[in-house]
Symmetry: C2
Subunit: 143 residues, 2 copies
């Protein structure tokens, strides 16, 4: 079995793509049976759209790829803990598993409660330091 | 000043458009200085996409219309209380005001807490009966 770190590295690649475009560096991939069916990175600045988070783009793309809006047998890998909006979308998608890297103390959904579907497994802290270091570098450059 | 009912009637028209397409009948319009800058209706079935709620479509469209992802001087009129996902998006957009029709006891965001931006005004119950009756008719036909 390919491990969580393998897919999280691909999510980090997406985050780096966002970084290069001047977007807050968050990336995501969605995996079904060890195959990547969707990826996305934050594009809120480029699209001037608050809904264009990495996870939202990946969810829409994954649903398109498998022809179903339910992602029950899928795992989302995302470099940063999802926000309330993205957790709400993941709830509707009934996604099988959510794996995130860095914790988002301010805007992460877990500060509100478990907003995911009861059947969704949640794992945090995979390649956390890499994700955090990318975010830190981005915000340092902004100043 | 044009009242809340006027704009909610237009949101109800959007909900009716969803109904005719076999979508759960929820509609939304976004207004800035008494001008409608965006509208949307639920398209989760047609697009096979859990993120295609009326509010999400309207938020993206409004941001596009005014060239800003922040909707601080705007009011969203939506026929049903927003879900957690949509409330999260409205938070990021820092929308000025949210006006809804029917309460969503099961999936409405207020059961979780006030997820909106601290500056967002929230008003519920405008043309509530019309919105509820449309939803009831839809679910009765489904059975």
């Amino acid at each position: 079995m390919i491990g969580h770190e393998y897919f999280m590295r691909l999510a980090l690649k997406e985050a780096e793509a966002a970084f290069k475009k001047g977007e807050i560096p968050v990336g995501a991939v969605i995996v079904s049976e060890e195959v990547i069916i969707a990826k996305g990175h934050n594009q809120t600045e480029a699209l001037d759209d608050v809904t264009a988070h990495a996870e939202m783009i990946a969810i829409t793309s994954a649903a398109n790829a498998i022809g179903s809006k339910y992602l029950r047998n899928c795992t989302l890998y995302v470099t940063l803990e999802p926000c309330v909006m993205c957790a709400g979308a993941l709830y509707w998608a009934q996604i099988g598993r959510v794996v995130y890297g860095a914790t988002d103390e301010k805007r992460g959904f877990t500060r509100v409660g478990n907003l995911l579907h009861p059947k969704t497994e949640l794992i945090g802290g995979i390649l956390q330091e890499e994700a955090e270091s990318l975010l830190r570098e981005f915000f340092r450059k902004l100043r």
